[in-house]
Symmetry: C2
């Protein structure tokens, strides 16, 4: 939503166009400087951070809604989006009044109030999607209601609104579970990357160390990556070679669930 008027329209007429009681929350993962990060935002009037999210139109396919929500908040060239869980157990149980207050503080920026019987004040389940993006190719389309955006290291997530903490944790677990079934490496890394980069990425996601030599051996033995003649300059150190994924072997390995050396 780009203008105050958009927001007012949404609050007044949203119930005609969106499904109540259901939202979509997106955990956007990126990888930079050997750190796994997620994109968070902070609404006007709140100190706590939130996940990007939105609502489903009344006749819109669910996955289409997730893509639309992501597309309106960020401009991401090549997007991988995956549903991972639906949250409705509310470890963070908010009552109607609390929900109303949170929304009122958000929407105050547009000078519009949310009543206690407004649909946004009601209980809302949330479908969680995770997105994998190339950190460097993301640009953000600022939303009228959002005061700031930030990439946060996943091991230093600040205090979050609603049950977004729980959603991120589940997304991380899913990432770990699916590392050998989904093209997670290829989506988080740029087209050309170094061995230390992919090595650190796997260590970060799985939370355990891998022997560098065995790791490279396995990648090459499975034909997952190809070494390029180019090198990258990284300052006062030896220049690492660049690699690229071999799409065919990579996707075959994902289907078979081939596990890398540990």
């Amino acid at each position: 939503m780009n203008t105050s008027q958009d927001v007012v329209d949404f609050v007044r007429n949203g119930h005609l166009h969106y499904l109540p009681h259901l939202s979509i929350d997106c955990v956007i993962f990126g990888y930079h400087a050997n750190q796994l990060k997620t994109l968070l935002l902070r609404y006007h009037g709140h100190e706590q951070w939130s996940l990007p999210g939105g609502f489903v139109r009344r006749h819109e396919p669910l996955s289409e809604a997730a893509h639309r929500i992501l597309a309106t908040q960020t401009q991401i060239a090549d997007l991988f989006l995956q549903q991972f869980h639906t949250f409705g157990d509310g470890s963070t149980r908010l009552n109607r009044i609390e929900t109303q207050q949170i929304h009122n503080r958000i929407f105050a920026k547009a000078g519009v109030a949310i009543a206690e019987d407004h649909w946004l004040s009601e209980r809302t389940l949330s479908v969680g999607y995770y997105a994998l993006v190339d950190y460097l190719s993301v640009t953000i389309t600022p939303d009228f209601l959002v005061e700031e955006y930030a990439w946060c290291d996943v091991d230093a997530i600040p205090s979050l609104l609603f049950d977004h903490q729980e959603i991120i944790e589940k997304a991380l677990l899913t990432l770990r579970d699916q590392l050998y079934q989904q093209p997670i490496g290829a989506r988080l890394l740029p087209a050309k990357f170094t061995l230390p980069e992919i090595h650190a990425l796997y260590e970060t996601i799985l939370g355990k160390p891998f022997d560098r030599r065995n790791f490279r051996k396995k990648l090459l033995a499975l034909g997952l990556v190809r070494q390029l003649p180019e090198q990258r300059r990284i300052g006062a150190h030896r220049s690492p070679y660049l690699y690229e994924f071999d799409p065919e072997n990579y996707h075959r390995a994902l289907e078979e669930g081939s596990v890398l050396a540990g």
Copy 2:
């Protein structure tokens, strides 16, 4: 719902107590005679079969709703229930009129009609849960609206209402993916089972053959099962030994994702 009056109340006042636009569907897996089966039901007035399902109360945690729905339709001692996907892309896109007609045929048994603007006629997303049960210890609590229940072999599923076909397929894929992370074997088998039983179960779920000797060797090497002195009589053949799971080793192996021999 046990009586005509229950059904009438539900149709008239359900919107006050349940969340609209959202249902829960349960794929109940059981294992018997070396066949993986799911429990299906057929509503009065329909030739097609359906998954057991229901709606979420307005302030009821989602997983609690799933347990309640299962508990009212079946009496299952020891239940393992796991959310696996939320369906809202509608490969089976039904419009309002078609949805209304399906519900009208179901609810006709109670002599109550569903209007075109009734909440049950509207677009509904579905949260899929799969349950693992010990086939022999399930007893069914007949529902007023259901004409018959049946366990169907998963490789001979009949034509189903709504998008239930897709839901079962996704449940089976999930079962396959999670066989080494969730206690699927232990929940589908009775407390004591034979090696040929568990062997065939793994072959069925993963859809590929395992060498009998290597399979047993691996189970014992990981300490997953203990051989008991008892045997089972199986008619005109040699009596197989009974085994039981070693809970401690079994759960440790699941956490590590240990893979059995292929």
